[in-house]
Subunit: 199 residues, 2 copies
Amino acid sequence: MQYPEPIAKLIDSYTKLPGIGIKTATRLAFYTIDMPEEDVTSFAQSLISAKRDLHFCSICGNLTETDPCVICSDNSRDQSTVLVVAEVKDLMAIENTGEYKALYHVLHGVLSPLEGKGPDDINIESLVNRLQKDDTIQEVIVATNANAEGEATAMYLSRLLKPAGLKVSRLATGLSVGSDIDYADQITLIKAVEGRTQL
Amino acid sequence: MQYPEPIAKLIDSYTKLPGIGIKTATRLAFYTIDMPEEDVTSFAQSLISAKRDLHFCSICGNLTETDPCVICSDNSRDQSTVLVVAEVKDLMAIENTGEYKALYHVLHGVLSPLEGKGPDDINIESLVNRLQKDDTIQEVIVATNANAEGEATAMYLSRLLKPAGLKVSRLATGLSVGSDIDYADQITLIKAVEGRTQL
């Protein structure tokens, strides 16, 4: 016997989300049925709205309702620096520190030979075009993840952009604030010693 | 800085689901934006439909689109036995074995003094009414979970229904099929010895 169709469809929809198998999907579907009507309606509306009303900023690739996005259209920001991130989530993480007050560029991915992702599959061409058109940009900070793919992407961008006379930098690698030296992995320790700062 | 409103709302909706915190909700929301348009639309529709089109069967409490449900309206089933479960999921688990061909009753909960759930908070009154009205029912099988609350609910139902001359039984407790004796917990082993079957 199958579940009644409405709940079978809902279970099916939940299983399409990442990391959610049939057991969790069933639990979520039954939970949904017990949720207040207005919560379910607003859930459905926000699904539709997130898909319909959000676009990528034509300048930086950020997720936005307006084009250009609020960051690109904010003239009070330092227009000479562009921080390059892989995903919109990374942009938000840096933006939420409240310390960085310049521009961004979202690649929507990193170079990954294993997944067959080359320079043409991520948002690099628009970055190059942007840098060619806009003379005020002096520095590019590459803020990709500190793993093999992130490093490879940073190296690629560095080689691509440095010949144009731009300053290209990378986020520092080292100990996380609050962490213990004896719990840190060897490569992090090596990088932390290499990148030591003068007191 | 906040996420654009459509995605902030979607993240908020996801966090209302059980076991989903802000980090997972953010991941799911970004995943949703990359999903095909038709999958998102059908997800939203199935949310609305599950809430709108599903009701509880007025006889047994099963989730159903029609009333009475397909099980209660199936006359080929044995009408003399009612299997009592706590949740619709338990009904489906037993139904999917394909071996049980009689009726069900869903309590929508178990007795739980810790959560303040007494006999009036679960679907017991409708079970009693059903048994009083329907003379063909001879046996009630209590299939609540094999934990303290499930046992308490079974004991309560047994004391309530036995005086009316009904046969009340409980699912067997013992070793799971395929399990190792030396991995079984003590209480399961005691129950398995007590409930031994003649070969």
